[in-house]
């Protein structure tokens, strides 16, 4: 989305909501995150492998302390359309995790090294344990979080989005959320254990600001800033939520070409068949 469209959207939003009074104030509370440009948006978009690898790193060094990713398997890391690890690299990552397995022949549960077929384990044994640690809230599993969050686009954007294929609301929200920590505005009393976040609904979030500059070392020269970390981990989570996206768009293009050619052939066949019938075809 170009900046001029932003200005237009903002102007339109102001024009539309200005006369509504009190309900406009409530609407204004939910601030739309800025729409960023992503490598995988649009019909030919592809994930940026290096970005996904960096995002995995941020997830493993930061988010994983609190959040699970339990629908993603280690083998996915080496599958086409993903972060592009080799099978050996993915297996090495898996091996760094301890997986609870069993019962064995003695009837006992045991821990073993992770394998490619395993899924990322949750960082806590059950939700109550998570609640006890995190101010009474459960950090949500991040496997589909990029699809599970959105914000209202409003008229006419929701119609325009059909043509521009804009569907990265969830990812844009993630970035905005991770960067959205500020001091609370004057007079706002935060409940204990929460921080103020501009983009979180209700603003009082039980997740302490997870990122800071220089927190995660990068080896590929990418800037080690909150901004970059947030984008990388959001991109990684976009892939985690939709691991077959590249195949979907590729096949989609082939299907489109086929259908359009087929429709064209049928159209001319129809014209020919109906040529001897005058009047309305």
């Amino acid at each position: 989305m170009s900046p001029s469209r932003h200005i237009l959207a903002a102007a339109l939003a102001v024009a539309l909501t200005a006369p509504l009074g009190p309900s406009a104030a409530i609407a204004a509370e939910a601030i739309a995150p800025p729409a960023l440009s992503w490598s995988w948006s649009g019909p030919f978009g592809k994930f940026d492998r290096a970005q996904l690898q960096r995002g995995l790193r941020v997830y493993r060094e930061v988010c994983q302390n609190c959040h699970g990713l339990t629908l993603v398997s280690f083998r996915n890391l080496a599958e086409p359309g993903g972060p592009g690890f080799t099978t050996a690299q993915a297996a090495a990552i898996a091996k760094e995790y301890k997986i609870k397995d069993g019962p064995n022949d003695q009837g006992e549960m045991f821990e073993r090294d992770g394998r490619l077929a395993d899924r990322f384990p949750a960082p806590w044994p059950n939700e109550n344990a998570a609640r006890a640690q995190h101010n009474g809230t459960v950090p949500p599993d991040l496997s589909v979080i990029a699809k599970a969050r959105t914000y209202e686009r409003g008229f006419p954007w929701f119609l325009i989005d059909i043509f521009t294929q804009y569907q990265e609301q969830g990812v844009d929200y993630l970035v905005a959320l991770l960067k959205g920590y500020t001091d609370p505005p004057q007079g706002v009393e935060l409940p204990p254990g929460t921080s103020y976040n501009t983009y979180f609904p209700g603003h009082a979030i039980s997740m302490p600001p997870p990122l800071q500059d220089e927190l995660v070392p990068y080896t590929d020269g990418a800037p080690q800033t909150i901004d970059q970390y947030a984008k990388d981990v959001a991109a990684f989570l976009a892939w985690a939520a939709e691991p077959h996206m590249e195949a979907r768009k590729r096949i989609g293009f082939q299907v489109m070409i086929f259908l359009i050619v087929f429709a064209g052939l049928l159209y001319f066949t129809k014209k020919k068949v109906w040529a001897d019938v005058h009047g309305h075809a």
Binding site: L20, S23, P43, L71, S73, N76, P140, S143, V144, K147, A148, R149, T150, D161, I162, Q165, Q167, Q169, G170, P201, A241, P243, H244, R248, K249, I251, G252, F253, V255, M256, L259, I260, F262, A263, L266, Y267, T269, K270, V273, W274, D276, V277, H278, G279, H280, A281
Partner: protein, 422 residues
């Protein structure tokens, strides 16, 4: 359905078979020789499109069912497993989910077509009522299907909609308990919804057969609303309607593919990617877009019971349309006043759909009440009165004359049915 067949079995075997089960000549009569008015426009292709969509839903649904687990603890993860680990599972699921939307889109266009051209009038009342039954079955099927992934919207939609039955006086609460299979929406609810969601599409398929049977008994209406007077005004179904229907089916598939491959979650709701949680109510409980007009009607009425009655009435009233419309002229092309009210009605339905997605507060409620009132007045007051006061334009004596009037010369007699070739 029979009576049009010119089918002559050629081989000895087919002659032998025909005497024992005349299914080939029956199919031939229904889908090859069957005469269709020659002036049908593309709005008449949506019945075929609906049949295609039903087939797509059944095929993708059966394969999804092979991988889906109907249990509150596993349903959400099993759907995600389909998306991730089943070969082309993402394609199956996105086809099924977006296919449902496109099915409704086609059904609404199909119905508005019927309303515009007066296709519900004598002798097509039963055909129309079967259509209303199909709409009702589609609504039920779609609702129960939406519950199956057991996300937040699944759960809360199930809860809100089933709770509506609680508004029925005296027995309401017992009915809700009975529907749930317990004292809350839970595993028994999910199991029975799954069972019914698998069953109903086949009931729909059965009613579609009746619908098409009724259609072939009375013949198709056409844009003039004047019945064909002779063979010259019809063309055989194959190849004419077949090729025309196929063309628009493929165009419609392009639209479906656009959503499936490029915007697969556009028509859905983000909250449904959050696993169901009975303890957390979503900020806005919003149904799928195709139920929004009905949802707006439900919420427009201040009392719960009243809302439920209005919701039911908004669908049931369609079945009475053949008798509420008092005009003897079928097609809106010759009804200058009705044509305007038809388009107002279309806008009212779209407006209700928009309001259904908005929170039920302030100006939205007032607007929803106004449009709900208009929805019912359209059927109960406008249509009965229009038929009495409207002065229709002169009807053509025949389809051929109508075509002539529009300045297109009427040419050679319609080609002979292509029935003998096969």
């Amino acid at each position: 359905m029979s009576g049009h067949s010119t089918y002559q079995p050629q081989s000895r075997f087919m002659q032998w078979f025909e005497r024992r089960l005349p299914i080939v000549s029956f199919m031939h009569a229904s889908f090859v020789a069957y005469p269709t008015p020659r002036n049908l426009n593309y709005w008449w292709t949506f019945g075929g499109i609906l049949s295609l969509m039903l087939a797509i839903q059944i095929v993708t649904g059966i394969v999804l069912a092979m991988h889906y687990t109907p249990h509150v603890d596993h349903a959400f993860v099993s759907v995600e497993t389909i998306m991730r680990d089943v070969n082309y599972g993402w394609l199956l699921r996105y086809l099924h989910a977006n296919g449902a939307s496109m099915f409704f889109l086609a059904a609404y266009i199909h119905m508005f077509r019927g309303m515009y051209y007066g296709s519900y009038k004598d002798p097509r009342e039963v055909l129309w009522i079967l259509g209303v039954i199909l709409l009702f079955l589609m609504i039920a099927t779609g609702f129960m299907g939406y519950v199956l992934p057991w996300g937040q919207m699944s759960f809360w939609a199930a809860k809100v909609i089933t709770s509506l039955f609680g508004a029925i006086p005296v027995v309401g609460d017992s009915i809700v308990t009975w529907l749930w299979g317990g004292y809350s929406v839970g595993n028994p609810t999910l199991n029975r919804f799954y069972s019914l969601h698998y069953l109903l599409p086949f009931v729909i398929a059965g009613v579609v057969i009746l619908h098409v049977w009724a259609l072939h008994e009375v013949g198709q209406n056409n844009p003039t609303g004047v019945e064909p007077k002779s063979d010259k005004e019809t063309v055989p179904f194959t190849p004419y309607a077949t090729v025309k229907d196929s063309f628009l089916m493929v165009v419609f598939l392009i639209l479906l593919a656009w959503f499936v491959f490029y915007l697969p979650n556009y028509l859905g709701h983000a909250d449904n990617y959050i696993p169901a949680n009975p303890l957390v109510t979503p900020a806005h409980i919003v149904p799928e877009w195709y139920y929004l007009p009905f949802y707006a009607i439900l919420r427009a009425i201040p009392s719960k019971l009243g809302g439920v009655i209005a919701l039911g009435a908004s669908i049931v009233i369609l079945a009475f349309l053949p008798w509420l419309d008092t005009s003897r002229v079928r097609s809106a092309a010759y009804r200058p006043l009705y044509r305007q009210f038809f388009w107002i009605f279309v806008l009212v339905c779209i407006g209700l759909g928009w309001l259904g997605a908005k929170p039920a507060e302030g100006g939205y409620v007032i607007a929803a009440r106004f449009l709900t009132a208009w929805y019912f007045l359209h059927f109960l007051v406008i249509l009965p009165i229009l038929g009495l006061i409207e002065k229709p334009k002169p009807l053509p004596n025949s389809i051929s004359e109508a075509v002539l009037r529009e300045g297109v010369p009427i040419g050679a007699p319609a080609p002979a049915p292509s029935g003998t070739k096969h």
